[in-house]
Symmetry: C2
Subunit: 214 residues, 2 copies
DNA sequence: TAGATTGTTAATCGATTAACAATC
DNA sequence: TAGATTGTTAATCGATTAACAATC
């Protein structure tokens, strides 16, 4: 299905989606690569190349339909369906994620959280039960879970990642400070907050003067 | 000072730092680009090019000193000093960040949080006071703050970003779902969690089979 | 039709990989 | 010294930018 979208273009997708959503809200129905490029601080060429690689088409002389583009990118990113999500680790980050309404609005439905701490097990956070991490494997066998979020300390992360991978989870959103090796059919997206903070620190100390929306 | 480090290499820095830290903990004192490349799943060439661009040097015939490399990268990323940090938005994400011990350990010291919600203002979260967002400007004028974290909803984010920028903050760690334009001397690092989740969603729907540590 | 803007090819730029002489 | 591995140059690969003919 997906042709040959270069990976930098993939990284830019959510940003396109965001700008198109805003334009749509503002009632803008048509936009040219030039206008969009001014808003997004990229070149018109890049926008046309990106959209082309996605299979999105505009109209010569007029530009692109905002609505259509928005919906095409939505489908390409798989945001037109529902995902069942569980969170491993009910600490601060896990709790913040489960409470963030935005995710639910976009089709990511939190089904359960898991933790090893007996004081936390049994709690209900924002409508989601915290279960015993020892029961994760059984839970996965009897529930259809798409995404597992790793939001736990390094020490247990690898073990829990393996349980997820070996029990049918299709994607892992990794907040733990490790790299994860997966079999061919499980995908991983890293959200390494510490790494991000370090990059900020780098920029602070090396008068980094470059826009980088990655 | 900093020569010409290509930006993909900069993005890889925290990952080098992490692996070198682990090697150091394991008591490994010397490593070749080949060995490191096997651990990190990159090419030896890339490692040598990256280290070279950083000004790090090894020893022909033997490899690199783990300890030395670790410390050099630490300095390059500015992790050998302290940063005063405030968080704008004392909601779930803000609270999670302020409670995350790892950041404090690496020299990022949280001085205050700010919010607009009267129910939250006055609280003390993990030893950090939640102040009134209206007082942010005054606070910045009388305190020396390096980093402002934007962890608040879109609607107020731009306004608060401007206050930070116009009152001497040097860097912004942006969790809000907007892009920020800064003057030349203020740097921004985005931590757009929603974008990250969307990339996971994309990978799930396009059997993305590529390791991407960005 | 004339003007505008795409789709697409070609040119440039930059990053990654390969190769190997230098040297520890 | 011989073996290993760097530092560095050259080759390749891929992404971005520029240009322009096609066409709405």
């Amino acid at each position: 299905m997906s042709k040959n979208i270069p990976s930098p273009a993939i990284r830019r997708l959510p940003r396109y989606y965001r700008y198109l959503g805003e334009l749509s809200e503002q009632g803008v129905s048509r936009i040219s690569s030039k206008e969009l490029s001014e808003k997004m601080k990229v070149t018109p060429s890049q926008i046309r190349q990106d959209l082309n690689s996605l299979g999105c088409i505009g109209q010569q002389g007029f530009g692109y339909s905002v609505e259509q583009l928005y919906n095409e990118i939505k489908v390409i990113m798989g945001l037109d369906r529902q995902y069942n999500v569980i969170i491993i680790g009910a600490g601060n980050i896990g709790q913040a994620l489960v409470s963030y309404q935005n995710f639910a609005n976009r089709g990511f439905s939190f089904k359960a959280m898991f933790d090893v701490n007996p004081k936390i097990i049994g709690l209900n956070i924002h409508g989601v039960d915290v279960l015993d991490a020892d029961d994760l494997e059984d839970y996965l066998k009897s529930n259809n879970i798409d995404i597992g979020v790793l939001a736990l300390p390094k020490s247990n992360a690898k073990k829990m990642a393996d349980v997820l991978i070996n029990n049918g989870v299709k994607g892992i959103w990794n907040f733990s400070h490790i790299d994860i090796e997966t079999k061919n059919d499980v995908v991983v997206e890293n959200a390494h907050l510490t790494d991000s903070l370090m990059r900020l620190s780098y920029k602070l100390n090396n008068d980094f003067n470059m826009m980088d929306f990655s």
